[in-house]
Symmetry: C2
Subunit: 307 residues, 2 copies
Amino acid sequence: MLKRFIIGIDLGGTNLKVALLDLHFKIKDKRILDTKSCGTKELLISCLINATNKIIQDNRLAKVNILGLGIGLPGPIDIKRGLVHFFPNIRGWQEVNLKGILRKRLGLPIFLDNDANLMCLAEHRLGAAKGFKNVVCLTLGTGVGGGIIIEDKLYRGLSFAAGEIGHIPINEKGPRCNCRGQACLEAYIGNARIIEKAQKLFRRKIALKQLSVLAKKGNQKAIALWSSVAEHLGIALAGVVNFLNPDCIVIGGGISGAGRVLLDKVRKVISERAMIVQARHAKIFKARLGNDAGLIGAAILVKEGLR
Amino acid sequence: MLKRFIIGIDLGGTNLKVALLDLHFKIKDKRILDTKSCGTKELLISCLINATNKIIQDNRLAKVNILGLGIGLPGPIDIKRGLVHFFPNIRGWQEVNLKGILRKRLGLPIFLDNDANLMCLAEHRLGAAKGFKNVVCLTLGTGVGGGIIIEDKLYRGLSFAAGEIGHIPINEKGPRCNCRGQACLEAYIGNARIIEKAQKLFRRKIALKQLSVLAKKGNQKAIALWSSVAEHLGIALAGVVNFLNPDCIVIGGGISGAGRVLLDKVRKVISERAMIVQARHAKIFKARLGNDAGLIGAAILVKEGLR
């Protein structure tokens, strides 16, 4: 019998990940490229195509072995038309029919979605939110992205842009946000903001990972910093809990590595500030699938899309 | 052929409305009682039962003509078990199995829901949001309630408590809210807050309706007051637009009577502060069904529930 696989791609502002997955979403092979070294739009598209062809060949497979290609993208997508509206952190992409281009040049079924949606899909099907019906997932990174599962289905909204938790304002006035808004959650807890604050506090450059290690070791400054991050996050999530009354919230991405110092405080803020009925049952989990969530979600998108 | 009708009840902290509706949701008869004059829990339940029996008899009908009774309630409900958790503005209700009591004493199929959900259902099926798929409705009154329609269905959340737009925090620090939270939207634009602000501004007692009339006549103080209400509301809704990417938002309840001075400013704030993709398509409508939305929604709940 013909062996069948799925290609998953996770395109980020920094890394371009390409993986070969089996139909149980196990990663059989994975490559990580540098997004910027690929170059501009046309070259980046060629990069996607070459990397796909190469991972197929290197595994001694042919197109006939590949069910399809799923790709997570760092920006708003029209998934119906397969259109990239733009990428906030990669220049030169404006209304690009990426699905059409890839289908033509690869001859495979192509499925596109926003990267945070795919992380959410993966965590719901196979990760921390498995078995829960109404779920909100967040990724904490350069940006603060998110996805929503309603009645076990990815909820995308009218323009496929739902889930932007990072752009819920937590104050009426406050720092400008990259999205053009003001006082959005991301403007307080995006990676760059945390690093800025840490630099002021420690009077030297300090990486996020180190900040997590310090907090775990009991460093009071680091704990206070994570505590203030958790406060901002908890307030935004109290609003989400009141408004959406989800079964659980899954928190992933780099800064979720701070672990309990972050999550316990987030839980505390929600339990203090959200409404009693909603707060009583809303579970707050750390994401389980780590950095591979996007690749796994891309493969799930293909398999479920072809059903 | 047997003529069939539905009883709709809308229980509020001030008024108890009881209506007889036909199967096209036309109100054939309506009575308005004073909730407080009914008295405590047991007496209020008797009031509901007597008013139901009376409207049936007065219309020369019998129980056999009634498909069922739908009732909108001003607080969190477990609609599966038919349980009222509590009412923020009516004392003495704690985990009351209202559905069981009414079914036993009336011998009719009983359907319960939160009043804001029923307003939302009515506006979606027959009002301003007809034809839209993903909808958020708000009622602006003593409290700021809301409901969510996802893919044409009322979305209730894990504990049937979704839609609490009034309890999205719009600032990290701010006035205490009745819900025990802090700086919730309701703590800025609940009726009582607006009246307080108006009193300070005009140095006399002034009713909401009058405030709307003054604004329409061009009174600058009144316009400024509505503008600040719209600012608070618009900021909360910018978050909702970014997070849920709805097709449209319907605004009803007393203060929506301020009309364009309120709605135009809300639209402006959303278009300035929400993300481009989501803001581009989100329509902001005034509710169309007015004070009867709750009764109509209650009847829709019965008809759709019995399908």
